[in-house]
């Protein structure tokens, strides 16, 4: 018996590539593409949501599998989900950046004993600075992180960048690369056992199709 899998699909930067991937797997995505507002597509077995919510839905079993960025998974390590595949697309760097030309981060650290860093990824940022032996005060922001150093809120930022364009346009430069993030296929641990044939078929299809 082949169970049908419910897939949590991230809206945002990974949306288009994810739908393309689902197309290659024979999932009907036409309706999802044509309807911007609807979130649940029962016939196709697709639920759409913000990338950061994908691990929650998958962990609780509201979706059997999901696609989200490695950045999201690094920030939510307590979620009990399988990370099955690196899908390769949505490649971004998690970086430390600061205003071009100024030395605010290093100066702050030297004179004030710590640097102030704004980010949407407080866990990743704290861990990076702890691992590199630097004291950092992490300021969590929800929206455009690039604004924070420009207004003097912080000395630098930790954020995700694909091309660096947004950073450059705001007069910021990359100082350190922390980790490369790509889209990942994740699975609910119970569905991973109870729907193993369907899940293995899907993983096999993606492995064969990609690379």
């Amino acid at each position: 018996m082949r169970h049908k899998l419910t897939v949590a699909v991230p809206r945002g930067a990974l949306f288009a590539d994810t739908l393309d991937l689902l197309d290659t797997l024979g999932v009907e995505t036409g309706e999802v593409r044509s309807n911007d507002r609807r979130l649940l597509f029962e016939d196709a077995g697709i639920v759409t949501m913000r990338p950061g919510d994908v691990p929650t839905y998958v962990e609780h079993g509201a979706a059997d599998i999901g696609i989200t960025g490695k950045d999201v998974l690094l920030e939510q390590p307590e979620r009990e989900v399988y990370e099955l595949l690196d899908l390769g697309y949505g490649r971004c760097e998690m970086v430390v950046a600061a205003r071009t030309g100024d030395d605010a981060l290093a100066e702050s650290l030297r004179r004030l004993g710590r640097m102030r860093v704004a980010t949407k990824y407080p866990r990743v940022a704290s861990q990076h600075f702890a691992q590199t032996g630097r004291q950092a005060e992490i300021v969590e922001v929800k929206g455009s992180v690039e604004l924070a150093p420009l207004t003097g809120l912080v000395d630098g930022i930790v954020d995700l960048t694909a091309t660096g364009t947004t950073l450059r346009e705001n007069g910021l430069e990359v100082l350190e690369e922390i980790v490369t993030c790509t889209a990942r296929l994740i699975a609910n641990p119970v569905a991973h056992k109870l729907k193993a044939p369907a899940m293995d078929a899907l993983v096999g299809q993606i492995r064969d199709g990609g690379a």
């Binding site: 609780h60 307590e78 009990e80 595949l85 609910n188 056992k193 193993a196 044939p197």
Partner: protein, 321 residues
């Protein structure tokens, strides 16, 4: 507003009577298999819990008593029962069959959707080594859940030492084991594959280490293992055969990648699944060294079920009828 701590909850009469009913049916099954119920203190000395397992003793809640001793709320029942067995029942008749219905506590984050206080129903079988012990615990668990009104539950069965055994057999340097096992226990198969690729192993050994965690299903799983496993799977094979003899073969999912977070497991590990619940209903395994840490070495295995999750599965089952 008079809040209660995150992850805890009040139970009102309708739910309570259903929980009691499930508890009663589980207990009746346990008792009919001669498992006697025990009770241990909610608070234990942290140092004593730590004797059992360092990680498990990292309980979510600690406090000081009047003399400055650190007390902790137990995070599972197996360590307190191991202490009980070694101190109150040392040298006694074997096998020893014990069950419990008790709350355990773990710290959870705000809004995580997890419970910090949870009611566990469980059993421990002490003094039966190897697969006869496992087979009894698993068969009884299946029967107890039948009695509780579940119909679609399954037991995932693995060997917690399997991956470690293979790493040693394939001569992977000992200093790499910890990282690899951590990836595996975090279910990060992408990270695991990266680490394995970095080991520079022969292709068949490399493939074995990468593919093994995804091997799960019926007995055909044994045939899908390719590469130098040697005798590492013999224990699981014997256990599966014993379960099949008891008529439980089709309710067991062999899972070669299964590991459980707690450090005291020494062999077989199990998890309980039901399609109505996204989380495991419970789990357990063999812990042959744990009671010995309290001074009375004896083989043992056991399992714990989260009664609230069993209730969710039971309610869903009722809805299907």
């Amino acid at each position: 507003m008079y809040p209660i701590p995150p992850g805890s909850r009040d139970v009102l009469p309708d739910e309570m009577s259903e929980l009691r009913s499930i508890g009663r049916r589980l207990r009746q099954t346990f008792e009919s298999w001669d498992y006697g119920e025990v009770w241990t203190p909610l608070l234990e000395y942290e140092e004593v819990l730590r004797t059992g397992d360092d990680a498990a003793a990292g309980a979510g809640y600690r406090m000081f008593d009047g003399r400055g001793q650190v007390l902790a709320l137990r995070s599972d029942m197996t360590i307190p029962i191991a202490r009980l067995v070694a101190t109150r029942l040392a040298g006694g008749a074997e096998p020893l069959r014990l069950c419990y219905f008790a709350h355990a506590y773990r710290a959870v984050g705000h809004g995580s959707g997890h419970q910090s206080e949870f009611l566990q129903a469980g059993l421990e079988l002490i003094g039966v080594a190897g697969e006869p012990g496992e087979a009894e615990v698993i068969e009884l668990t299946l029967a107890a859940l039948d009695a509780a009104g579940l119909a679609r539950h399954r037991i995932g069965l693995g060997d917690g030492a399997l991956y470690r055994t293979l790493l040693a057999a394939l001569e992977v340097p000992a200093d790499r084991h910890q990282d690899l096992l951590e990836r595996l226990s975090m279910r990060d198969l992408v990270g695991l594959e990266l680490l394995v690729d970095g080991l520079g192993l022969a292709p068949d050994a490399r493939d074995l280490l990468v593919r093994l965690p995804a091997l799960r299903g019926g007995p055909e799983v044994f045939d899908r293992v390719e590469g130098p496993v040697g005798g590492a799977l013999d224990g699981l094979r014997t256990l599966y055969a014993a379960l099949a003899d008891r008529g439980a073969g089709d309710r067991v999912i062999l899972d070669l990648g299964l590991v459980r977070m707690l450090g005291y497991y020494t062999g077989a590990v199990y998890e309980v699944y039901d399609p109505a619940v996204g989380f495991t209903l419970g789990g357990g395994g063999r812990y042959d060294e744990l009671i010995g840490r309290f001074g009375d070495p004896r083989p043992a295995c056991g399992i714990g079920l989260d009664v609230q999750r069993v209730h969710i599965a039971q309610a869903a089952e009722e809805g299907l009828r």
